[in-house]
């Protein structure tokens, strides 16, 4: 079923989505309406236009696909489900995310994955096809972030300044030859290994499947994994991961 969104404010659009009997919805002409898919458990939405901030906030099982760019705070505090963005996203994607998956074909802005967390079976993951801005994974407490840097120069790390600031749990994977030079003291960068490789391969295959890409050449590349230093007591204190 198609919902023509022109002239609908966020509240009216949210009601249409929630009260629709259809499980599959197409939203046409979206222009800045916030909170699309917020708290949604069970529908599949295909979104054309520019969805507003907090797309999929608190989402709890729904599946969203955006045929273009999204704005700030995609998947804020998302609990379950999947968000796929064919374009790029703004700042604070996956803010305090606690479950589910976000796949972005293009770039993301600052503070992607800030305050992301995990608990037992709730293991959120974010895969970025392009480049991530500064403060990637700030205060990350759990879950996984993978940044591929597709289309970038090989020597260039696919992240801006200060990645993993305050990270105390979870893992960040970067496809690059050399790790970033401005890592905080409590974080270590090592080539992905063991269980990390298994996570990475699974996430990478899922990402490629969403966008019709061939995972094999990417699987053969080098990946650096940023994790809190296990000597650091804070990780054990807060996140028995």
């Amino acid at each position: 079923m198609t919902i023509w969104t022109e002239g609908l404010d966020f509240q009216a659009l949210g009601e249409r989505i929630r009260h629709s009997q259809a499980q599959e919805l197409e939203l046409e002409g979206v222009l800045g309406q916030r909170y699309i898919g917020a708290g949604l458990r069970d529908k599949r939405l295909r979104i054309r236009g520019v969805p507003g901030n907090a797309l999929g906030a608190y989402m709890d099982g729904a599946q969203l696909r955006v045929e273009g760019n999204a704005q700030d705070a995609v998947g804020d505090t998302m609990n379950d489900g999947e968000i796929v963005v064919e374009g790029s996203c703004g700042d604070a994607l996956g803010y305090a995310m606690r479950g589910g998956s976000i796949f972005v074909r293009g770039d993301v802005g600052y503070r992607c994955g800030i305050h992301m967390k995990a608990y037992r079976e709730k293991q959120p993951r974010i895969v970025i096809g392009g480049r991530a801005g500064s403060f990637l994974g700030e205060y990350q407490a759990g879950g996984r972030i993978l940044v591929l840097g597709l289309g970038l120069e090989e020597e260039q790390p696919p992240v801006g300044a200060f990645p993993a600031m305050g990270q105390h749990g979870g893992a960040i994977f970067l496809r690059c030859r050399r790790p970033p030079q401005d890592l905080p003291a409590q974080v270590t960068a090592k080539p992905a290994d063991g269980e990390e490789l298994r996570w990475l391969q699974g996430d990478l295959r899922d990402f490629c499947q969403r966008f019709g890409l061939d995972p094999e050449p990417l699987l053969a590349d080098e990946y650096w994994c940023l994790r809190p230093n296990t000597e650091n007591p804070y990780q054990r204190l807060y996140t028995p991961y």
Binding site: G32, N69, Q71, G90, Y110, G133, S134
Partner: protein
């Protein structure tokens, strides 16, 4: 009502700008459509616009836009204006009745040139003379407030949602090469006409989303140079900061941006020696003009605009650079309503993006 300093309002804002690169004029209705899309970022307590190139028939004259509380303030201010300026035209600023724009002050506009004798007597250059007269009115004449004082540009602002403010001021009747806009969600100070953005002095205007924590440090420094902050809002001080650095100190816009949103010392340490020295000099020389706290701003000036984020990029901003027109906005949707094609990008925190209208590039 209670004004700045008497009441604290806990709280987003929206900014938008359009500039023409091909010499074509942009109608005021375009900027209104852009800012209207971000309605939810404002709360109806302030909206405003700055238009550049809108007064071609009076482009040699300073356009003073005034708010008056009452006729008494108007008489006092007009006496002051007559004593210091040659007034070639004066009129009410055209408005239309609007059900959501109320309690309007008296709105007047004057096209002026400093009186040659007064200017000579003052031993100031012309722009400094005008700036000082603006401060005189705003501090010394109760109930009178100059909210726009540049040449061939004008600010239009009010308490209300920006799209309503645009209708109220009949912006569709103006055309210019550059427009900026603001939708306000006041933090800390009450929403009233004077407190709305843009804040302007001469041809510099600022629209700002954010809340700076260095207000007092910046204000104390600028007050030493004669800038009177009359509104207790952070945006006012940013306007004066750029006026001071660019007009009075002769810094380039790029340098002024590197003062306001200076790189971190840890980043400066890793730079090449010459660049390290230059940035160290700027940080030391103008330490009190570092702006801390979240901001995204658009600085309008004659011939162009500069977009700048705080160095931590705590507020959103996207830019679409086209060959005919370029756009800057808090959200992509505010650009897409006018232009569906031109790709957007986000500048890094502290990296200014300076866009010139055709006139300057030519």
């Amino acid at each position: 009502m209670m004004r700045e300093g008497q009441v604290h309002i806990p709280a987003g804002c929206a900014i938008s700008g359009i500039i023409s690169h091909d010499g074509s004029d942009i109608g005021g209705e375009d900027i209104v459509r852009s800012i209207a899309v971000m309605h939810d970022r404002s709360n109806g307590l302030g909206g405003g616009f700055a238009g550049y190139g809108i007064y071609p028939q009076y482009k040699e004259y300073y356009a003073l836009h005034l708010f008056y509380d009452d006729e008494r303030a108007k008489s006092a201010c007009e006496a002051f204006i007559q004593a210091h300026f040659d007034v070639v035209n004066l009129s009410r600023i055209p408005t239309r009745k609007h059900k959501r724009i109320q309690n309007e002050p008296l709105l007047w506009r004057y096209f002026v040139q400093p009186l040659p004798t007064k200017l000579q007597e003052s031993q100031l250059d012309e722009r400094e003379f005008v700036a000082r007269c603006v401060f005189r009115v705003n501090t010394d004449i109760p109930g009178a407030y100059v909210f726009s004082s540049g040449k061939n540009m004008g600010v239009f602002k009010a308490a209300g949602y920006p799209e309503d403010v645009g209708e109220f001021f009949r912006l569709e009747e103006y055309r210019g090469y550059l427009w900026t806009a603001h939708g306000r969600y006041p933090t800390n100070t009450p929403g009233w006409w004077g407190g709305a953005h843009p804040f302007a002095l001469l041809d510099y205007s600022i629209v700002h989303n954010g809340e700076i924590s260095s207000y007092d440090a910046n204000r104390r420094f600028l007050e030493m140079f004669g800038y009177a902050c009359t509104l207790l809002t952070d945006t006012e001080v940013i306007t004066y900061l750029f006026d001071f650095l660019v007009r009075r100190q002769g810094l380039t816009l790029q340098e002024a941006a590197q003062v306001a949103a200076a790189p971190f010392w840890s980043q400066i340490e890793r730079m090449e020696p010459a660049e390290r020295e230059r940035l160290t000099y700027l940080r030391n020389m103008f330490a009190s003009l570092l702006i801390t706290g979240p901001f995204s701003i658009l600085l309008g000036f004659e011939g162009g605009m500069m977009a700048l984020n705080d160095r931590l990029k705590l507020r959103s901003m996207v830019i679409a650079r086209g060959s005919k027109r370029s756009y800057v906005a808090s959200e992509e949707c505010a650009i897409r309503v006018l232009d569906r094609e031109t790709p957007v990008f986000s500048p890094e925190g502290g990296q200014p993006v300076i866009l010139y209208a055709k006139r300057k590039e030519a």
